[in-house]
Symmetry: C2
Subunit: 107 residues, 2 copies
């Protein structure tokens, strides 16, 4: 797999659980930013409509070791435990992706 | 809705149809880049695993008029028609999103 590489994760909270999920993701993101130099992107995106908004994580890892560090981190494990609090309507969908066309920005 | 705003679209091709979907999205993206100054981001991302990879479009629009121009464009309408060629395993999921945490880049 070419490096760096992207991961896009799709998270679907149960109705009424979105704020709790947002809080957990933002807490994790702060720890990732502070502790994981190889996690080049870790952005929390929230759907702006509906009472069960979908979250989309846009992530980029410098290399496999950086992804391994992320997966093994205390904070990510805590996130995994917290998600078991009956917060999600479906299992988190984790997609390893690559940009194959279009453009990232016109600015 | 604050402007500019993001759209994340999740597209799930039927097995064996991913290359056709990629070709369509990349053709549309070229036209968008050439003809739509208000479409600030239009990036085609393809899952790198599996024979029915998911596509995730990351899009940003300067304002409502720019989104309207995109939706009304000849190219987007052609994409819509082409998608009716029995290419998708599920309807395209279109999410209006906002970044609420984390970071876009450490580079």
């Amino acid at each position: 797999m070419p490096e760096p590489f992207d991961i896009i994760a799709v998270i679907e909270p149960k109705p009424g659980k979105a704020n709790r999920v947002e809080e957990l993701l933002k807490t994790t993101a702060k720890a990732v930013q502070a502790n994981e130099p190889g996690t080049l992107r870790y952005q929390v995106n929230r759907e702006t409509k509906g009472d069960a908004p979908t979250f989309v994580m846009l992530e980029t890892y410098k290399d496999q070791a950086s992804l391994k560090a992320h997966g093994g981190s205390k904070d990510f494990k805590e996130l995994g435990r917290a998600f078991k609090e009956d917060l999600l309507a479906a299992p988190m969908k984790v997609l390893f992706t690559k940009a194959v066309g279009g453009y990232a920005s016109k600015l």
